[in-house]
């Protein structure tokens, strides 16, 4: 092994002679050549591929009843998809090490050959610790920022922070008073002669604003494919809203355990054209259309 003393000192205008200290890329290449590293990496790649495939299945499963039917649900699905994809490699790496260990990848020692003395102490690998913490921190930071931005977007779209009459919409929202009780929903249209229905009917591409309450216990007003859910509390009114962007029939469910027929406390939301909505209002005896 050469030493500093043995090495000739280069002239100031000459490049320094290479040393025998391996470069960082060489270290990485050497690390990648190790059999166990290659096996774990292959397992990581395989599990990542499975997770990504499952994330598509997850979205397809969420949409089997016709959603997304609003920009809110679009954002929710996008968030779930992106966060799943972003976390997939890290989750896969963790599972890969577990899988490799579970299958005895590190080798095994027969009971008769068990060492009688302690081995050398395990030393911290500074590079590994820094790499792990950096990746996890970046990922967590990404999730927080993405989540906050999406939360602000969704809250704005559901009138969560701005009253309906202050929303930057050119279209007047359809107001609906939602009443929950064991174990049915009823919907009153205060601007259309206070007609009441057991089915929620809304015009497409028109904002809908909901005043939600309960007559007995706590329920939760969940418009599944529209991506909106809010508690229905007795003696109080909670507000939410959304703009349906897709024609069709979707589901309204109770999302708070509320008694014997909680599981049956559901109804439909029918998103129709403005003309169909006007006709429906007239058929129900309403005295005004939006």
């Amino acid at each position: 092994m050469s030493t500093t003393e043995e090495r000739p000192i280069p002239a100031a205008d000459e490049p320094e002679s290479p040393t025998n200290r391996p470069g960082s890329m060489h270290l990485v290449k050497e690390w990648l050549q190790r059999p166990y590293v290659r096996r774990i990496l292959w397992i990581t790649v395989a599990i990542t591929a499975v997770i990504i495939a499952l994330s598509f299945v997850m979205v397809a499963f969420m949409n089997q009843s016709g959603g997304p039917a609003s920009s809110i649900m679009d954002e929710i699905e996008k968030t779930m998809f992106v966060l799943t994809i972003a976390c997939a490699p890290l989750m896969a790496a963790t599972l890969a090490v577990l899988t490799y260990s579970w299958w005895g990848g590190w080798g095994s020692v027969a009971a008769t050959d068990a060492p009688t003395e302690d081995g050398p102490g395990i030393k911290t690998n500074g590079v590994a610790v820094v790499t792990w913490i950096t990746i996890c921190s970046l990922l967590a930071g990404f999730l927080v920022v993405w989540g906050l931005v999406e939360l602000a977007t969704i809250t704005s779209s559901s009138y969560g922070s701005v009253p309906a009459n202050q929303q930057p919409n050119s279209v007047k929202p359809v107001d609906v008073n939602v009443t929950a009780q064991q174990w049915l929903w009823s919907f009153e249209y205060p601007d259309s002669g206070k007609i009441t229905s057991s089915v929620l009917v809304l015009p497409v591409n028109v904002p809908a604003y909901f005043n939600v309450t309960s007559l007995d216990v706590v329920h939760s007003f969940w418009v599944v494919e529209e991506g909106v859910k809010i508690d229905a509390n007795p003696g109080a009114i909670t507000n939410t809203g959304f703009t349906p962007t897709k024609l069709g029939t979707f589901n309204v469910r109770c999302a708070e355990l509320c008694g014997l027929h909680h599981a049956y406390m559901e109804t439909q939301v029918k998103v129709v054209t403005q003309e169909q909505f006007n006709s429906w209002i007239r058929e129900q005896g309403g005295n005004k259309t939006s």
């Binding site: 009780q181 049915l184 057991s198 089915v199 007559l215 007995d216 014997l260």
Partner: protein, 234 residues
Amino acid sequence: MKRALFAFLTVLIGVAVVAATALFVSRNGAEPPTLAATPAGTAQTASGEVKHATLELSVFPNASASQPGPDIPTSTTTMVANAQQWPFYSPSTSIQLPANALVTVTIHQYDTGGQIYNNWFAQPTGTIDNKMTVDGKEVTSIPPANVAHTFTIHQYPESNEPAWYVSVPLPAQADNAANEANGYPKPIDVTFSFMTGAPGNYVWNCEFPCGTGYVQFGGPMSQRGFMSGTVTVV
């Protein structure tokens, strides 16, 4: 040997717990015997001639010698005694109706009542022309402060069956109504008709807070066989 015995006992106890739970759930989940609507020939409706069937139900304020009331399969003596004071639909809460037919239901109402939580349930909805008759007189609503019970059909979740919703309020007996020989007052007869659709499974329940506890939705409102049940369209 000792370890094997403990392992065997552990498995045995686990099996016993699972079996007991399954038995409890099975007995409590059992529905009353099915009450099928009686065929009554055909009827002329707005959509043409269809099958017609009739169904007769009663609502009693409590059990008695003449009306024993629903059976509570798994319960204590105290629970059975309390349940004797619960209102109940009779003769069954498991109803079977023909598909794509006109069904005429008559309910004999014997119970007192009061103010319903939601006035909307004081009007018949989903019946022919949203009407019903009370003791032969046609009405489209009853006073919300004088409701005894409702008979409200709605659909199962997660189902592909068409949406179906029928709700009928039942007027209350006067608090001082005199009892007849059977221990109950002269019934108020409510009759209404509705159309059934394609075959499917639905539930019905009362929307009047006629139970005990839990905002009057406990007791008979939380126990199968009293104020709620199933509707099977076949």
